[in-house]
Assembly symmetry: C2
Homo-oligomer: 200 residues x 2
């Protein structure tokens, strides 16, 4: 299979398989799992719905592929030198920046926030991957919080695990609030988080 793209490099012109996954992810975040269809994707990409079934036999497969890729991305990002080298408070700021990017890209919701409401209607493998995604993210943030408190760059009471769970659900909720209203509540909430977490 000839490709104009360099191997192991981000494709300049993504293949159909990737374009389907990209668009499905964007539709999933924009509308939820139950409000997008193979037809939506096919129309936008100028292919036939059956072509999507060729790459992702069932919608379950497609949905699971989206969450699995996000999980891979999370692990990759978390272990990036430019992230691991940061001090804990900067790591938290880097996390805030990710959510801010979501906001700015008009996605306005994170994976967790997009799937939590429909959770009971999701195929089991998707549920499992989302649980893993959220668990790993929460554990990472708990470690960052603990390290931050130890070095006095982050301030909070209670256990790192509880604070981590609270922080992440707040961020997910803040994006949802931005979707329902506008940017204002998100900025208000993240500002409040910074005020509480970072000693003046």
């Amino acid at each position: 299979m000839a490709s104009i793209n360099a191997p192991n490099a981000p494709a300049l012109v993504p293949d159909t398989r990737t374009r389907i996954l990209d668009l499905a992810e964007s539709l999933l975040l924009a509308r939820g799992f139950n409000a997008f269809s193979y037809q939506h994707i096919a129309r936008e990409l100028n292919i036939k719905p059956a072509a999507i079934h060729y790459h992702y036999p069932s919608k379950d497969d497609l949905g699971t592929a989206i969450v699995s890729r996000q999980l891979r991305r999370l692990r990759k990002w978390r272990d990036l030198p430019r992230v691991t080298d940061l001090r804990p408070n900067q790591q938290l700021e880097a996390l805030f920046a990710v959510y801010d990017t979501h906001l700015k890209q008009n996605i306005r919701v994170c994976l967790f926030g997009a799937l939590a409401a429909d959770f009971q209607t999701l195929p089991a493998p998707m549920q499992q991957e989302l649980r893993t995604f959220n668990r790993e993210l929460t554990e990472w943030v708990a470690e960052v919080l603990a390290a931050g408190r130890a070095t006095q760059t982050i301030r909070f009471v209670g256990s790192p695990a509880a604070k981590s769970a609270q922080l992440l659900t707040t961020l997910a909720g803040a994006l949802q609030a931005a979707r329902v209203h506008d940017e204002t509540p998100f900025q208000l909430i993240v500002g409040q988080l910074r005020l509480e977490l970072f000693p003046a």
Copy 2:
């Protein structure tokens, strides 16, 4: 129309119109707006789908009726003597108790949390009612927080408006986390909120 129910009293045997609304609300909270249908309701209530169209001509009408009723309930609850008579910290505990009830009833998500993800796919009147619902709730909590700080029964930094927005999105997110995992994260998060808000 004869009724076995006393007028202006909660119906012992709710009429079809109310039973539709009750079930639709429960399905909406359990599965999201796009994952329940008139057929689901009809089957469960042993009526025909067209009977639902008689009471709620379109799904938009049904969805809007759900949110409108929740908005009426919020206003009623907020103005209840047994709520207005409480001290601010107790009012906040009363709010926590409402979310705890959601959790215990296996609903595990509040109205905002159920609709935020699908927001862009909702009919405009539903969007408007949900915005009003969230705005009024946020304003009420902001007042409670301000009063609580003034009487030194609630502790927080920053503006009541920011803290209110943060608190409510955290609660909504906590219920979503309970849905994805189990009760544990909810209890962890609410425990953390109490620890931060209520002086020892």
